[in-house]
Structure formats: C-alpha cells, structure tokens
C-alpha cells in the first residue's frame, strides 16, 4: 500500500500529511496530526463524537477518508476557542454542566456551532433535530439543549454590541464535503 500525500487546511493552518488510502480523517487527525479532540465512539456514523466540518459542512470524521480533504478546509473543536477565550458554546456547556464523562462533548460543540452559524436563533425543536446525530450516554440531553440556547442568546447579545467583534458566519460552500 502506498501512502497518499495530502495538503489541506486544518483550523486555518496549512497542514500536510501522508496517509493510507483507506484511512479515515478521524484517524489522521488523532494519530498523525495530533488533534485528539474529535473522538471515536462508534466509527460508523451513528454517534457524532467525531464531528468536524469540511468546507463549512458538518461531517463525521469517521466517514471521510483522509485522502478526500486535499485542498479543503477542515475545522475541529481545537479551533473553536479564540486563544484563551472559550467560544460561548464552550463557556455555556461548563456553566450548564452539559457534560459528565465528556466523550461526546467535542462532537456536540462542533455540531452546535454548525447549527448556530446557519441559524442564530433556533427553536428547541430545531436544536434537538440538529443534534440528533450526536449521542450522549450521560446527560440526558436537556442540559446540552439549555447550554446551546444560552450560547445562542449570548451570541445574539454580542452581535448587537457595536464594539463587539462580529464573528463572520461562514456559509457552507457549494461543494459537498
């Protein structure tokens, strides 16, 4: 088996790696790039613990080949905080105790951010549907939903402050990931 050489962008940084043709992005991120935020719960697209975005679209990193991200932009949970300043979603997950063991948390954060980037004021039902691809065996989901609602409120307040730095909401590109 010969390796595939891939040049891509991860959390804004240019990254190059060599992977096996059948190696999934999740393994590349964790074992080759050293980004262990995305977790493997199932490896088959059911749990969402491995959620990342590729060209702005939410995907399961366990169901994307490393070779597929050539020239794409990958974003992971490691890219959410702004230096030492946590993303409002991360802050609210802590305040609302929206995690226990924490295995599902990176996936929920990335999926929730993908939702808020697209819809800044989601209803509870929209939040629950958008997070249906993420499983949590500890919290019972309610605290996660409350944390996402609180973060959405926070982001909305930020957006109305003239001095506040507005986060550019990136529209997903037309290319499928």
């Amino acid at each position: 088996m010969s390796g595939v050489h891939v040049s891509t962008t991860i959390n804004g940084d240019a990254v190059e790696f060599v992977c096996q043709p059948g190696e999934v992005l999740l393994d590349v991120l964790r074992n080759r790039v050293g980004l262990t935020g995305a977790k493997e719960g199932c490896g088959t697209g059911d749990c969402g613990a491995c959620s990342v975005t590729v060209d702005g679209r939410l995907v399961c990193a366990c169901l994307v080949l490393g070779a597929e991200v050539e020239g794409r932009a990958v974003n992971t949970v490691e890219g959410m905080a702004n230096g030492n300043q946590l993303h409002p979603l991360q802050q609210k997950f802590i305040e609302h105790a929206a995690l226990q063991c924490g295995i599902c948390t990176p996936g929920f954060l990335v999926a929730a951010k993908a939702l808020l980037d697209r819809n800044s004021d989601p209803t509870e039902e929209q939040i629950r549907y958008a997070l249906a691809g993420n499983l949590c065996r500890c919290t019972g989901y309610d605290k996660i939903v409350r944390a996402v609602q609180a973060a959405a409120k926070d982001l909305a307040v930020d957006a109305t402050k003239p001095a506040a730095k507005k986060k550019a909401t990136k529209k997903p590109s037309k290319k499928s990931a």
């Binding site: 043709p21 697209g45 969402g48 366990c62 050539e70 939702l115 290319k175 499928s176």
Partner: protein, 285 residues
C-alpha cells in the same frame, strides 16, 4: 488498495474498467466506508467522484432536472427550484441520517447501496426518475426501478457508474410526497415507506399517478394497481381504500423485530393513503 479522485466521468469509468480487482465508486461514503471498516468490501481501487464537475450540480433542463451523482442530500434541500417542483423527492432525500450524514450522502449512493429500505428510492420511482449510466460502452438511461436487482445488488455492469439522475419537468397541477414509518423520530431505518406522485386534470380529478413502496419487498416496488385505484378520482374514501388494498397486495415483506409481516403490510397501505393526500394537496387539489 488505491484512492483515486478523477476529474472527468471518462477517467472514472476508465479507472473502474481497467482495474484487475474490484473498483468501487465513493460518493458520500456513508454506506461504503461503513462496509469498508467492517471488512465487507475490499476494493482494489476507490474512485472518488466528488471532484468531477459534471457530477457536482443540480441543473434545470428543458426536460426537467438533472441531479449530479456527487450532489449531497443537504444540497438538494437547499435548492429551492427543485424543492418546489419535487418536494417529495427532496423530503425523502433529507430524511436520510443526521445533519452529519446529510452533508455527505447522495441519492445515487442510496440507490446503488440497494437497500430495500433506502429512503430516497420510493420517492424517485414515484417521480419517474431515470439514472444516466456511463460505462466502457457508452451512455444509457434506465428507469431508477431497474437499477436495483435485490438487496445489495444492482444491474450495473462492470465498469459502469451513474453520472446523474433525471427528473421529468412538472406539468400543470402536480405534487409528490414521501412518508416512512420508524419507531423513533429520526436516525432510523424505514420499517416501511411510501412515495406518491400525481398530476391533476380538470376539476381536481387525478389524471396521472405513480405509487411506490419501500421496505416491503426485496426491492422498492412500483404498484401500478394502486395508481389505477386513484386515477379518475378526487381521492374519495373508496378510492383511497382501494389504493391501500392494492398496496397491501403488493407487499412481500420480511418479518423481524422491527416489524411483522402483518404490521408492515397494513402500515404500507396507510402511509400510501396519507402520502397521496399530501401529494394531492401539494398539487393544489
């Protein structure tokens, strides 16, 4: 195993037909990569079709719509013209998996995976969708219902792939709908399902109809007798009862923990009735 990402359909076909071992098309990978991980497939070459421009777009043509084989179901949901013309096909495609799966999965992958429970297939069959197949011997166009041979099996020949799906142009008052039964609210495999497409004539009378059922036989089934039962009617109770009976007669489901034969058969008729009513309403009846 090799990974290739050709940029033309021709190159993709060449890769598939010139490989000594098995070549496997990779679209969204939501079936293929699960099977690869499980060791159920060991292709010699994986041909990723997502870098082929001709397969990346949904276009409106004189004869209807053309959906490129690499277009994700999420993109179908974002296409308002397609949604307006074929709401049932789009709602079926958008039922597949979670947001994560939607970003990747395609209706062609759903079709070629050849599961009897594939959600987009009954809707496409009801819509009279066709698959544009390209292979070493050229291009051919086949009705979607002829692509699947049985569970996990297609009628595609060695080296062939599907380049796009075509949907006919909508005329006059037309509508379609798709419904499935699952024990949960999302992220589940259809226990049974129904797709209905119809066109109304004068006075709101059904002039044309197609009814297809999923997960009640080895392949998705088109049920002409069910369509016949509602053609010439305004979907009165008798017509709907006759349609449901025709659907039940077409069922040959499996019996498993997710649904008994009796349950799947009865619910298939119920879903067809409900889908017909939604399609009728969408048609402006």
């Amino acid at each position: 195993m090799r990974y290739e990402a050709p940029t033309t359909t021709k190159d993709a076909v060449a890769l598939l037909s010139k490989t000594k071992g098995k070549g496997q098309v990779l679209a969204g990978g939501s079936d293929l990569l699960v099977r690869l991980k499980g060791g159920f497939v060991e292709p010699e070459v994986i041909v990723d079709i997502k870098r082929i421009p001709a397969m990346q777009a949904v276009s409106k043509t004189a004869s209807g719509f053309k959906i490129g084989a690499a277009v994700s179901c999420a993109q179908l949901g974002e296409n308002s013209a397609l949604k307006k013309a074929w709401p049932g096909v789009v709602e079926a495609a958008n039922l597949i998996g979670s947001d994560q799966i939607q970003s990747r999965c395609t209706v062609v992958g759903n079709l070629c995976n050849a599961s009897p429970a594939a959600d987009s297939v009954p809707a496409m069959v009801a819509a009279k969708a066709k698959a544009v197949v390209v292979g070493p011997k050229g291009k051919r166009t086949v009705p979607v219902e002829d692509v699947v041979a049985g569970p996990g099996k297609t009628t595609l020949k060695a080296g062939e792939l599907i380049e796009s799906i075509t949907l006919p142009a909508r005329k006059g008052k037309s509508g379609d709908a798709y419904l499935r039964f699952i024990p949960r609210t999302e992220m589940d495999i259809a226990v049974c399902s129904a797709g209905v497409s119809l066109t109304l004539g004068k006075g709101g009378v059904v002039a044309e109809a197609r009814v297809a059922l999923g997960a009640v036989a080895p392949t998705v089934v088109l049920v002409p007798a069910a369509a016949k039962a509602i053609i010439g009617t305004k979907l009165d109770d008798d017509a709907l009862a006759a349609m449901a009976a025709a659907c039940e007669a077409a069922c040959n489901p499996i019996d498993d923990k997710r649904g008994t034969v009796e349950f799947r058969t009865e619910v298939a008729g119920v879903l067809a009735k409900r889908a017909a009513k939604i399609a009728y309403q969408r048609a402006g009846g």
